[in-house]
Symmetry: C2
Subunit: 367 residues, 2 copies
Amino acid sequence: MKKTKSSRPMKTVTLADVARECNVSVSSVSLVLNEKPLARLLSEKTRSAIRVAAHKLGYTPNRNAQALRSQRSNTIGVVVFDIADPFCTLILKGIQAALEPVGMLPIIMDATNQGKQFEQYIALMLERRVEGLIVVANWLLSDKDITSNLEAFGVPVVIVGREVESATVSSVLVDNEAGGYLALQHLHQMGHQKIAVICGPKGLQDSYRRLRGIERYARSIRFTLDRSLIVEIPDAADPLAGFDGGYEATIELLSSKKKFSAVLAFDDLTALGVIRALHEIGLRVPDEVSVIGFDDIPAASLTTPSLSTIRQDMSGMGVTAAQHIIELIQPNGSANSSASIRLTKPVVVARESTSAITRDSRRLSKS
Amino acid sequence: MKKTKSSRPMKTVTLADVARECNVSVSSVSLVLNEKPLARLLSEKTRSAIRVAAHKLGYTPNRNAQALRSQRSNTIGVVVFDIADPFCTLILKGIQAALEPVGMLPIIMDATNQGKQFEQYIALMLERRVEGLIVVANWLLSDKDITSNLEAFGVPVVIVGREVESATVSSVLVDNEAGGYLALQHLHQMGHQKIAVICGPKGLQDSYRRLRGIERYARSIRFTLDRSLIVEIPDAADPLAGFDGGYEATIELLSSKKKFSAVLAFDDLTALGVIRALHEIGLRVPDEVSVIGFDDIPAASLTTPSLSTIRQDMSGMGVTAAQHIIELIQPNGSANSSASIRLTKPVVVARESTSAITRDSRRLSKS
DNA sequence: TTGTATGCGTTATCAA
DNA sequence: TTGATAACGCATACAA
């Protein structure tokens, strides 16, 4: 039992230490411990001696040295625009899950919602010689922030949650249009006719795409959307701004005496704001007004009533992004699989906040 | 403009490249770029030439090489028990915020709620030669999982969210007892007398501490808690189990015809489950029953009604943990500041789910 | 079947 | 004022 009172840095066990312990050369130790084919040429006795010694001494390979020598860091930089955003966190899980089996380590940084930090953190990761970069966007990240020059980093880049028009940067995101389609379909099939639509900020791709999907479904069944029931929440800098946006939009809608039996909200946060507003006015959800969101953030299942929504497979998106970047990292990888856009399929999650239209809501929606 | 079509790994610019570019030695370049005192001995002309060349060539220091040479990785390993737990994510923000100014990089890993992965990930970080370890626990992490041998890793360890009885591992967590005290105080001061208490799993430190705080407040005002209104949710493996626990406990309480005008829940998730149950039975919150949680997870402010709760300063805990580990890393650091326990002060966040007792709730709580 | 030597990019020591 | 050079821990081509 050695006293461990020593001051840092503590000397760690190296290959040389192991080699000395069993009177072989460092190369032999390296071969055996890495299970290289060449190791099979060593006598079984030597091999086991090496393994025993390594274990006894508590040898831990030094990844930094390995990275230096092999010119491969085995790390992927992950820049999350806001790690507290529940939307992002499941993506991270997916990324880690896909990276682990191939021995890659994600280096995660939170950009804390600031475009400024963004570039700076990427520089940090480059210093660590990450072999690839995954950017997890959320709706606060303006396109300006990214497109600056994501292309010029010298490593493959995959961006999650945002479609980017670059020739060298790949995207993984939900099929927003399909999602919008599904959302309206869900409400319409439950009998709703007067449907308010609360769109996201105009500048946002997602807003546009989802609305397109909504309109496409409407056309497909020759259903006419009441334009006066379509509103838009303002752009904002706060992660929770969607909630306020939904709240304000609903208050406005209600005070203008518009009638509707259902609200299709831009996302879950917006939907929760809508519900708050309806509740304050004294309208019951879903008895009098149905509400559907988009994303399926964890909170969606915890509220009362629980929130019907369009689920994005965040974890799956993370996995896809990670797998894609692994491909790109392979030598010649950028050749065969170049910049692509992968859309994941959204799915309806019907919970308590939507219900078939009732007498109550029908009466209410009479204009 | 060089074509960048080459296959990976892309050769990066080194000190030697810069040195060659301006006909000086690598040592000079190193001195200048690191702004060492010795660099002042070089002529101003040389210095600026070096800086210009470095910038022109796009030099990026190789941290792996630096780590190898200096025996300092400038990284801190952070093992989060569940990165999707909103409780954890704000702590991460705090950690990053405190680490950044001192040039330390957090290496974040999600243990995905499994004690098994836990040890394995720590091994990974040790291979990367992290200089310290921060473990972010949540209530699913059983003490067994950690105490195994957190002490023997050779680097300082700080654990957030759990008090550990080790002589070498420091803890940062909320003052649970004070929190329990505050929660009961809040309810009592609003006039509630029949108060149900839903405790966390028995095995959990937090449960015990919070209950102690509750009892301490009760004693301080000579208020007698009705033991039959104190229940406990079962231990569980699911991150969202608290919700179900709160739900079930409430249903049980109600079906046993107990009367109460307020519920003090173990945490926010539990509280949300309670609200769901009350709603199903047809009891209005807070008009007929007040509910208070613990933690102040993001969802707490988004629900309708929004949740009154006891806030933990998660971000602050992250900062504290990071600062502490930085101290411990300093040479001789472990000497002057050894294993300690730092408690952060909880604060009441009064929102909509609690209100002063009304005629309705008074009537209801008559037994 | 095993060992030696070299270099990865840096920093630090010593010499010029 | 500046430049060689060794060493950090490891992997590998080459020798023995």
